[in-house]
Each structure stands twice: as structure tokens, then as C-alpha cells.
Amino acid sequence: MKTKIIYRTLTALVVLATVVVWQGCKPKAPASISMGDAASKAYVPPGKYDEFYNVVSGGFNGQMSIYGLPSGRLFRIIPVFSQFPESGWGYSEETIPMLNTSHGFVPWDDLHHIALSTTKGEHDGRWAFGNANNTPRVARVDMKTFKTVEILELPNSGGNHSSPFITENTEYVVAGTRFSVPVGDKTDVPISSFKENFKGYISFISVDPADGKMKIAFQLKTPGVSFDLARAGKGKSHGWFFFSTYNTEQAYTLLEVNASQKDKDFIMAVNWKKAEEYIRAGKGQITKAKYAHNVWDEHTHTGVSNIMNEVLQLDPAELKDIIYFIPCPKSPHGCDTDPTGEYIVGSGKLAALIPVFSFTKIQQAIANKDFEGEFAGIPVIKYEAALHGEVKKPGLGPLHTEFDANGNAYTSFFVSSEIVKWNVQSLEVLDRVPTYYSIGHLSVPGGPTTKPYGKYVVAYNKITKDRYLPTGPELTQSAQLYDISGDKMKLILDFPTTGEPHYAESIPAELVMPNSTKIYKLEENKHPYAALGEGQARVERKGNQVHVYMTAIRSHLTPDNIEGVKLGDEVYFHVTNLEQDWDVPHGFAVKGANNAEILVMPGETTTLKWKPLSIGVFPFYCTDFCSALHQEMQGYIRVSPAGSNVPLKFSTGKIEDQASGAGL
């Protein structure tokens, strides 16, 4: 009996010990709690401003969003490439032309990257550029109004991913195609004729230094590969541009495998000053191409779309010394120049090291013709001849690198889900922090400029998983803010993001905030359908079009009683907001509208088209809570049968006698 008890006790103890040991051996879950004074570092007290504007791409929502740093608060979503019913972008008559393309009206796109305009390599706070990855375009947002003011389509491109990176003085915005495509007269070709017929095109878009107007200055015809990201040279390397490429295997199917075969793809170095020389010498070729150029006019409050018909092209296979290839390990994604312009960091997303190239060495290699051969007629510089050195064992899957002002680089690692800090000169790894989870791009304020502000690095993560309250299968996207002011990077904030941010830039608030537009001046409103006072409010019929010149001011719409519209008519509500005070927008919506509402800023005129499909009296109202009497800001429009003789009339504040019956 006694031995049985001892035996049982021993057995129990052994089992218990096994469990304890087993538990002890299990790896711990990653420490996900930020430590110490983190909260105070990201805290912006009520009523205080953030230090930086964070201009963030919206990815598949096609928009740009504006956050504050360090708080991570979302201020605004700027509609760019996608329709936005809450403001009427892409629905109002004025904004529909902004989304016009050579394929007609395109209501959606995928905005991946941001470039903030620079002068002498430093942020100047004038414009933000964004790329459309699906139907290739570049957009320009005015940083005074935070409004999309220009969209330029790119011909001969199959997906504008390597864009919208800019040169030191915003001379050019580049646009490199992700998909090589057949162009010109031979577009109906077998997909298997890739090597023969498919070409990659890089567009250099010039930007007018005075008003920002974009124009395709020239296109470079390059071999059929995929362009991923790019950065301009700066300082000593100003005049050059560096593009990462992948699929130099020239695969056209199952790229996952077939475009990952070579040990090295290329970084393409472009001497754009040389390209300018060739153009001046008349070596460019004017080629037919159809593309849309859409420009917003701030005085008519209207976008105008023009279809362009030709583009200037250069063929670097014939015109020597414009481009060179530099081998770079395994499908490089990021291709980033440091603030001095001397070092170019390639981030091979399947590689386990980071090559750093030297601009000086690249120049020497070109001078000494230190080439290992040619690729599609373009010289390939020897890897070692261009290399400053490699960062050894930095992590797995480097994607993108930015810099601080102290000679350090910060590289994101998608596969090993971390940020690694290393020294650009010594190539020594200094610190690493985990990200939650699978970081894509990262962003240091001023990181791509010649004058990084440092202080923070933001991680834009691809996977969120357990970081927030779950919301079903579809979860929020997420960013993480790290303090990099000390030797060690410290996680100080998680913040959810809208859309799927890819790249972002941050700019000090003082460079943008003082220029922010508060109202549009009524006396500068040149909209052809503006009613610049209630006295001008009216309704006019032109055939089956009824134009309502409507005014909105707290707290009434003029006219607010409209009769004489007939079935089959198209009604255009041209709403002018007569307010001249900051933060008093009015909205307009009408029952049964098949498009959206419109938001009208003070001093602006915006048009909503409405085609009634049945007879009756339809209410309309102001949708933006404008005042204590906002709920009273409403009216009626009467729709009569097609043959009716109800006269066209309109009024506000007019009380009539018992009106006679309907259909008179």
C-alpha cells in the first residue's frame, strides 16, 4: 500500500516536472508591449499641434491621407485616383474630367508612393505627387489646398509602380513601368513573344517651377524588364537617377518562380543630363501616343481634360551613355540614395545581404569601361567595380532604406519583420527592432532628402493580426512609430491606417501650415455657373437641361422651392457656397440621386447632376452640419410629367396662397 502511494506520487511528480520543463522550453511570444515613457513621446495634448505632417499613400483606396506625427492621428483623406462619394470627387461635373484617361473614365486606382517636392534637395512644402499603379498616371496635390490639381496619364506603360520619385529641384518626376508591354503599331502580339516585342518605358515628367504643371519631357525605351522603385541622385550624383529592376529573366508567366532565377537583377543608372543633351541635339523621336492630361483650375473650380497625341522618345540602345546596368542581388525593391548622394543602397527582397554602391566608383567603372558584358545592348558594370561594400547578415528580405542626418541607414525587412539600423560608411549593424508584422516601406521625416530631420521612423506594416480588436476577416492596416533620437530604436506608438499605405513622407508642420488656404475668395470665382450672391440665384432651362444657380449660406439654400421640372429633364444643381469664413462648408444632396452628394467649400461652386426617374416632389438639403439651423437648410423640387405645362418657377421665402392642384 505504502509503496503504491510512493509510486503514484513519484509518477505524478515526474509528469509535473515534464510539463514544467516542457513549458519552460517553449519559446516565449514576442514582447509586444512598448516600455517606459513611450506614451508621453507620442502624446500631443488636446489643442496642441503635431510636429510633422505625414503624407501617406492609400494603396488600394487610391487616395492620399494626412496624419500627424508623433500622434498618428488621421486628419484627412485627399481623394486622388478614386471616386469619393463623401465629397463628390469623381461624381461632381467639375471633378469627373480629373479621372478621365485614354480608356475613358476610370473610377479607381492604386496609389503606392508619395514624393514631396524639394528645392536644392530639401522639402519646400509645395506639392505632393502620387502614382497610379493600375492605369498608369501621376497626380499632383497642392499642399496649400490639399486638393488634387493635376493628373497626367503615362502612355507605353503597363503599371506605374516605379514612380513618382523626384530630382533634387523637382525638375522631373519619374514614372517607370512595372509591366513591360508591347507598344506602337505592334500591340496585338502573342504573350510568348515577350523578349522580342515587349519594352519597358521610363517617363521623365518635367514640373514647371512656377506653377507645378507637369509634362512628359521624354521617355526612355528600355529592355523588357520590370521597374520597381527608384531614387534620384543628389549633391554630387545630381543629374543621375537609379531604378531597381526585377524579372531580368524576362518571364511572362509564373513570375513567382521564373522571375526569381537569377542571382542578380539590375539597378539601372540613368544619366538624365546626357538624355537632355541628346534632346537638344535633336536625337529624340516624336512618337504617336494617346494619353490624358487633366488640370484643375482654382478659379473656375473645374477640371479640364485634354487628350494628348504624341511623346518624345530616346532609345538608349542606340544613344550611348544614357543608361548603365549594375548587378544587384535578387529582385531589388528599394534603391535608395543617401543624403550625400554618394551611396546607393539596393535592397534585394530575396537576398540576405544589402549591397551599397558608390557613385564615385560607378563613375570610375564607366570611365574605365569596367563592364562584364551587355544586356539588350546596354553595358553592365562589374558588381565589384561599383560596390562600396555589403552589409552582412542584416536580416531577411530587405525592402527599403531611409536615412537620418548622422550617417545611419534604416532598412525594413519584410520576411524577418524588423527594422535594422546600420552605418552607411562602416556597413556595421547598430541596432534592430521587431515590427508587428511584416513591414513594407518605412519612412524617416526628410529621409529621402539631403536634410533628414530624423527623430522618428514609421513602419508601414502589411500584416496586423492580433494588434487591434478584431473586425472579422478584414482587419485594419497599421503603422508603427519608433523613436530614433537615441542609440536604440524604441517603439512608441501603434496606429491604424486607412487603405493600405505603401510609402509615405513626413514634412515639418511649419513648412506647410502657414500656407494652408482657409477659403476661396468669392470675387475670384470664375465658374460659369456661379451665383455670386442670392440676387443671382435662378433657374434656367436649355432644352431638356435645367440649370439651377443655387446659393448656400447659413442657413438656407436659394432657391429652395423649384417647380416646372419635367420627367426626362436633366437637372444641374450648381451650388455656390457664399460663406467667406473658415470651416463653413455646405453640402448638397437630393433624394434618389444616382451619383453622390457634393461638399462645397466657402467661395466654391460645385455641380451635381440629377436625372429624376419619377414624378413627385423631391427634398434636397445641406449635408454638412453648418450651423444651429442646419437642420432647417432644406428645400423641395417638383417633377411633373413629360408633357406638363407647369411653368418653371423658383423662390425662397415666398409664401403663396393655397396652391392649385398638381398637374395644372
Binding site: 442657413s555 460663406e579 467667406q580 444651429a628 439651423l629 432647417e632
Partner: protein
């Protein structure tokens, strides 16, 4: 005929010349703050016009039935330039003709003008604050909205301040100079007797 000391003539002329500034800078200001307007709203009264956030103030005041503020509302803007011109002229003549009774008259004239201006402003304020549109959206029995003559007053959600602007202060200094000169003349002539 009693004459003036040279320094007095100089001071009176200076006071008159300083009033020329009235044509170039605002004379009076009304400032308003509310929770929604932490940055404040300002209305500047000049010799012949009114500037500042007039449209915004009018847009807000229409809820309580106050009139739309407009330059045409003030006939004063038509003749104020002449009154001030007369005051400047009278001062210069006083200095030129060198008569103490003219200084007396000038002092009385300045006090009378200042008083008349304040009374006129108060009357306008009374009408503006009391003569309300009966169909206004917000109607608070017993409430009127007369702006303060000078100083600060709470009007519903607004704190309103009324007081001299740069030109007004220059006028006040001119007035003090003239009255001071008169006092100085009287004091010193008594001594001489």
C-alpha cells in the same frame, strides 16, 4: 488780446498735425471671441469705411435678427473726413494766429467732437442691438445685443470688446496735448500776474 507761448503754439500745431494719421489708420475696433472663434473676430472702423471680419459677423448676427453691417449704414462715413479736416485746420490756425481764446475754443471743440462721436456710436449701437428682426430664428425675450461703448461685455456666446484703435489713441494723445497746453497757459499766466 492774450497770446500763447512759442512752445504752446508748437504743441498745438503738433497735435493738429498728428490727427492727419486718422486718414491712414483705423480709429476704433470691436473685437469678439467665442468658443468657435478662439482666434477672434475683428471689426475696424476707419474714417470712411469699416473693415475686418464684417461679413462673418453679419452672418452670425443674422440668427438673432441683427442688421447686416454695411458701409451704407453709416452716413458718418460721408462727412467724417471733413470734420477731421476742420479740426486739423482749426488747430493749425490757432497756432498761426497765436490767440489764447482760439485755444479755448479749440479745446471745447475737441471735447464736443469726442462727446458727439461717442454719443453717435452709442446711438448706432443701441439701434443695432435693439432693433431686431422679429422673424429671427433665435429670439430670447428681454435680450438685446448692444455692443459695449468702451470695454468688454458678454453677449450670448461672444465676449465683445470695444475700444480705440491706433488712430483713436493718436486722437486721444492729440486731445491731451491740446488740453494740457491750455492748462499750462492758464497756470503760467496766473503766475505771471
Amino acid at each position: 488780446m492774450k497770446t500763447l507761448r512759442p512752445v504752446s503754439r508748437l504743441l498745438v500745431a503738433l497735435a493738429a498735425l498728428m490727427m492727419i494719421s486718422a486718414y491712414y489708420v483705423p480709429l476704433w475696433q470691436i473685437l469678439m471671441w467665442a468658443p468657435q472663434y478662439p482666434e477672434g473676430l475683428a471689426m475696424k472702423i476707419w474714417i470712411n469705411t469699416i473693415t475686418g471680419d464684417v461679413k462673418v459677423i453679419s452672418a452670425l448676427n443674422h440668427y438673432i435678427g441683427m442688421k447686416h453691417i454695411d458701409v451704407e449704414m453709416f452716413p458718418e462715413f460721408g462727412y467724417m473726413i471733413y470734420i477731421v479736416g476742420f479740426l486739423i485746420g482749426f488747430g493749425l490756425i490757432t497756432a498761426a494766429l497765436n490767440r489764447r481764446f482760439l485755444l479755448w475754443m479749440y479745446s471745447v471743440l475737441l471735447i464736443a467732437t469726442a462727446t458727439a462721436a461717442l454719443v453717435d456710436f452709442w446711438l448706432w449701437g443701441y439701434d443695432y442691438g435693439h432693433n431686431l428682426d422679429p422673424t429671427a430664428a433665435i429670439n430670447i425675450p428681454g435680450m438685446s445685443y448692444q455692443p459695449p461703448l468702451i470695454g468688454t461685455k458678454q453677449l450670448l456666446n461672444f465676449t465683445a470688446f470695444s475700444g480705440p484703435d491706433v488712430g483713436g489713441w493718436i486722437f486721444i494723445i492729440s486731445g491731451i496735448l491740446v488740453l494740457g497746453t491750455l492748462g499750462f497757459e492758464l497756470y503760467t499766466s496766473k503766475k505771471r500776474v
